[in-house]
Subunit: 366 residues, 2 copies
């Protein structure tokens, strides 16, 4: 095993991301980390591993200038851990300054077009999703939440942007794909640039926290921002990139299509415990071997639950890591400990979620 | 000269259109003309030469059932004769029954994206365009006029439709073109199918009167209607096809890009007279030859002005045609006669237009 990887904040996946630095010009988060006040757990632990132009946003923070943070969700079901990551980062950037404005898009049209979920149903799901955001700490007074099906300004921007993209440009970013994907990308560019339009106070730094797989959308949007700079004065949007939360079975990226390998914030805590009991670990074939060689936390989804999502305290995560690698900690007890932490988190979160439902409903109603 | 072409209602262009029958399945208008009550001048004279499924609409007329007629304009300037043709056909179909609902789209987003006209300016142009429609006889009580930039339902439909078109399908209809053209086509499909959505009373016959060059949009829209039939119950939209109004210099299709070869409904009547004096005719090299061989009205744009646009009385048009072919009528006097007719028409129309401006403004305001 490569000793360079012996890092409690590292995971087996890091190699999958490093090529993004060279190929696409994403900067390592280390280049700006010293300028980020009280960095979020994801940032401290390298879960957020890269960025583009985050300096712009950090300068706005230190100069007390306006900036925005933008994200969204396709309201097809409960918040899973991937949605939680983006949401926490959104809320973190919003918390950096009282000049920060958060934007959140409920992509109900995509939920209808791609998943067949009627707008009336996704509207209900969106209420629960927004209550999750409020429970996680979103400040509604400095947030603009909107439904994709109702926000004409975004649709209008994407229509205008369509005039300045060529098939070649789209093929270079996405490969040859269907027009629906291209159109979604144009609509997302509209979402990301909305905070810089006149109705929202004009050009300003905007950061979009995303999973590493979303970079093509960011690149296209930056290209469009550049092309329409003379008309709108757009600054190129900034982005941060996080590693993808693995499913409980260890496959890359959580997907709503496989509910058993997926934790959501509305899971029954007892069900969540069972899911954790069945999750992939970095354990060895036998207890004896594990006592001797130690476990492999880099491979372990249970360890990742604490590292990415549920254990705030850094020394606690470090201790788990070291005990695992030394062979002092076995998977059974470790799963039980994590299951308890997660179940308690879910109970507390769900209580908060319920207390925010009415507020979420009225925010979305208008 | 081919004797089969000796027809006062024929023009030199007819050959350009006949292939549409064989290639694309457009039906000759003759197949339904006997069922059209008091056919409009365009229909009587073969200017409207073809249709798709117009039977559906005619059956609604005779059964006193609901139907719709749909059209629109890019509000970039004054109504030219091409816009007038579509507008007259819209109004004609609306007049067939008091169950007929007219829909008219002001494509202000396209005016901005393609022609750089800001929405505030196109909003003013749209008021004048709508006053032209009212002056031509549109019944506002049975009309839904909307701005493309504000009609979320159309944008939402086009977004949904994008999921069911493939690159292959678009290439087959349009050839390989840019995504902006594809997107406009999807938005037009949304415009055409809007009258059949729940908000407007659900599925019903809809006719779209268009110029012959617009058939690809109709084909794509019918394809989309078929694909989304199970969800929305769409009937395939009907269409009628007219020959394109030539420019005054004789080139095919009037274009706003060449104002001198273009008549608009807001032209100063004296300026219009001068334009007509400079227009292409079907005259011979010398007066002597013309007296002997007769003129060629099929080639003559001045003749077309009366035939397509400004002379309502059929025997009058026939007389002009016969006098021209016989050599009894020379171009100078003929231009003067047409110039007078057109100038009088414009004066009367412009008076009416002004009297409708306030009503147009309030209709567009909401």
């Amino acid at each position: 095993m490569d000793p360079i990887r012996l890092d409690p904040w590292g995971t087996a996946q890091i190699d999958d991301y490093s090529e993004l630095f060279d190929l696409f010009g994403i900067q390592p988060i280390e280049t700006v980390i010293k300028d980020i006040p009280h960095p979020h757990r994801h940032i401290r632990r390298g879960v957020v591993f890269g960025h583009r132009d985050l300096e712009l946003v950090l300068r706005a923070v230190s100069d007390d200038g306006p900036f925005a943070v933008m994200s969204g969700i396709k309201p097809t079901g409960d918040f899973h851990l991937g949605s939680k990551m983006t949401a926490e980062e959104l809320i973190f950037f919003q918390s950096l300054s009282n000049k920060a404005q958060a934007f959140y898009c409920m992509a109900d049209l995509e939920a209808y077009a791609d998943n067949g979920i009627p707008l009336e149903r996704s509207a209900k799901i969106a209420v629960s999703n927004l209550a999750d955001l409020l429970a996680l700490g979103l400040d509604p007074k400095r947030t603009y939440v909107y439904k994709q099906s109702e926000e004409t300004r975004v649709m209008n921007l994407s229509f205008i942007f369509s005039r300045s993209v060529t098939q070649n440009m789209l093929n270079a970013v996405y490969g040859e794909r269907n027009i629906s994907l291209y159109l979604s990308a144009l609509v997302q560019a509209g979402d990301i640039l909305l905070p810089q339009t006149k109705d929202f106070g004009g050009p300003k730094p905007v950061v979009v926290p995303v999973g590493a797989d979303q970079d093509p959308h960011i690149r296209l949007c930056r290209d469009l921002a550049r092309k329409h700079q003379s008309r709108y004065g757009f600054l190129l949007p900034s982005a941060t990139y996080h590693k993808l939360a693995r499913s409980l079975s260890g496959s890359l990226k959580m997907s709503k299509r496989d509910p058993k390998s997926l934790l959501t914030l509305n899971d029954d805590p007892e069900v969540a415990k069972k899911k954790i009991a069945d999750a992939l670990t970095g354990g060895r074939e036998t207890e004896e071997i594990q006592r001797k060689l130690g476990g492999e936390p880099e491979k372990c989804v249970v360890y990742e639950l604490g590292l990415f999502h549920f254990i705030e305290d850094d020394p606690h995560v470090k201790r788990i890591y070291e005990e695992c690698r030394s062979g002092a900690r076995l998977c059974g007890e470790c799963k039980a400990e994590h299951a308890e932490i997660v179940a308690n988190y879910l109970k507390a979160h769900q209580r908060k979620n319920r207390s925010f439902i009415d507020q979420a409903r009225s925010l979305l109603a208008g």
